[in-house]
Symmetry: C2
Subunit: 247 residues, 2 copies
DNA sequence: CGTACGGTTGAATTGGTTCAATCGGGGTGG
DNA sequence: CCACCCCGATTGAACCAATTCAACCGTACG
């Protein structure tokens, strides 16, 4: 049932069939997480690396004054905490936004595989580095775009990422977020997020029925967002030149 | 002359003497860059990985509407573009902010060393992952903090990072930025950055003489910033998982 | 059938922007 | 040695995007 996801993931990470199988073989334990439960919390020292199989999750931090900021949305195929292989302590929390299933991978077994399946290592680096590029793009979004552009940009990104893992059909994809969660990602208030959504609807750029986001005019949406997909790095990879994942 | 930097860098990355020497040995070519010149530009496919030896640099992106956003400050000891080992094309630009010297490393030679010096690989992962943690922290800063808190937070971070590489003495460090550059990092206008700096001075939290930033009351500065240094991950790495590496 | 939660609306307020002018110091050419 | 110039820092005042607070709507759910 998860094979389609791994097939897509293999394509996204440019893995051979053998490497994809190896990755799939790592995901022995599957954990169900209820909506709004933490998968890992700031300060934890998790034993496992998690990979989202179904549902949505988000990285977030809470400031001492109690404000929440989401720093990443995690959709099927995204790793939650690959970094714990090196950085023991979580510097942020990860929560399921919908009920979700995540695969649990044992860090040591990843390290072992990295010797027999070096391309898999490239894939893991790729995933980490694309995450980093997405973070940079969010910084630009928060720092230099208006609410309207900001929301448009986020939706362009989520649309493309959902499409990459085969979860968007035509220009429709499931966006199971509340406006408050969207606001926490955009650095806005829920009220203003609501008004901004209305503005995008009024311009007939998108429609949002229930949980399904429909993009009505992707070209114009990308234009108002100033969206350039280069940061998602979907072009072919270079060969790994950085050696195995550390144990 | 650069040995003190590499010594510090080795400490920061928790490298053995041998690994540090190996890293130092990679840095054969040194490139001087004038202030305000790009080290690499968005869209480039650089041949080398760069490591800042002296001076300051910054990652930045420019939106289609012409606004600039700085996404990271790079100080001595920081890698500019380790990611090009996997992601061929730059999704952002890097400019020298002062005249600077950078070491050029050949990706293939890093890969070779990774077999003989596996801990060095851990160090590179560490550097990459801490960069990522810093990006997350910037997102929180931009999304959920006021101008005053935001500026205070950035200064707390830069102070600590400068101290880690031995470039801060007694709460004083060189901060060779214009207010405009600071504004581009904070997602503010230069005018408001100026007023915000004045507010911090008025509260006697800091003083800025010429290029030297002096922190007058670090405890209070961190308190207004809501600064928690955990994201810089200076605690020891997971040695437990760094056991002998199979061949 | 009530209640709770997410979405929506309105009106007042504010943090930050914008535009435009002035200040000040370090470097340059006469 | 001085006058000029340029760039970055600074100030003021008008303006605006987004926030705040509060009320209200709709619907899914026990």
């Amino acid at each position: 049932m998860l094979e389609p996801l791994f097939a897509k993931l293999g394509t996204v990470m440019k893995l051979s069939d053998a490497d994809r199988k190896a990755l799939e073989g790592l995901s022995t334990h599957v954990r169900r997480v209820e909506a709004l439960r933490d998968i890992t919390a700031e300060g934890d020292r998790p034993e496992h690396v998690h990979l989202v199989l179904e549902g949505w999750a988000a990285r977030y931090k809470v400031t001492p004054t109690g404000a929440r900021q989401i720093t990443a949305f995690l959709i099927p195929g995204d790793f939650c905490d690959l970094h714990i292989t090196v950085l023991a302590e979580m510097d942020h929390s990860i929560a399921a936004l919908t009920s979700a299933t995540v695969a649990q991978l044992v860090p040591d077994r990843i390290a072992e595989l990295s010797h027999t399946h070096p391309h898999l290592v490239t894939g893991l680096w790729w995933a980490t580095l694309v995450d980093e590029a997405v973070l940079r793009s969010w910084i630009v979004n928060l720092g230099r775009r208006s609410a309207l552009q900001r929301l448009a940009h986020l939706i362009c990104e989520l649309h493309l990422r959902m499409a990459h893992v085969g979860l968007a059909e035509h220009d429709v994809f499931r966006l199971p977020l509340t406006q408050e969660q969207l606001a926490d990602a955009l650095g806005l208030t829920p009220v203003h997020t609501n008004r901004t959504l209305q503005a995008l609807r009024a311009r007939e750029l998108l429609a949002w029925h229930g949980r399904d986001m429909e993009i009505l005019d992707i070209a114009r949406l990308r234009q108002v967002a100033g969206f350039d997909a280069n940061y998602l790095h979907t072009a072919p990879l270079r060969e790994a030149r950085l050696g195995p994942v550390p144990r």
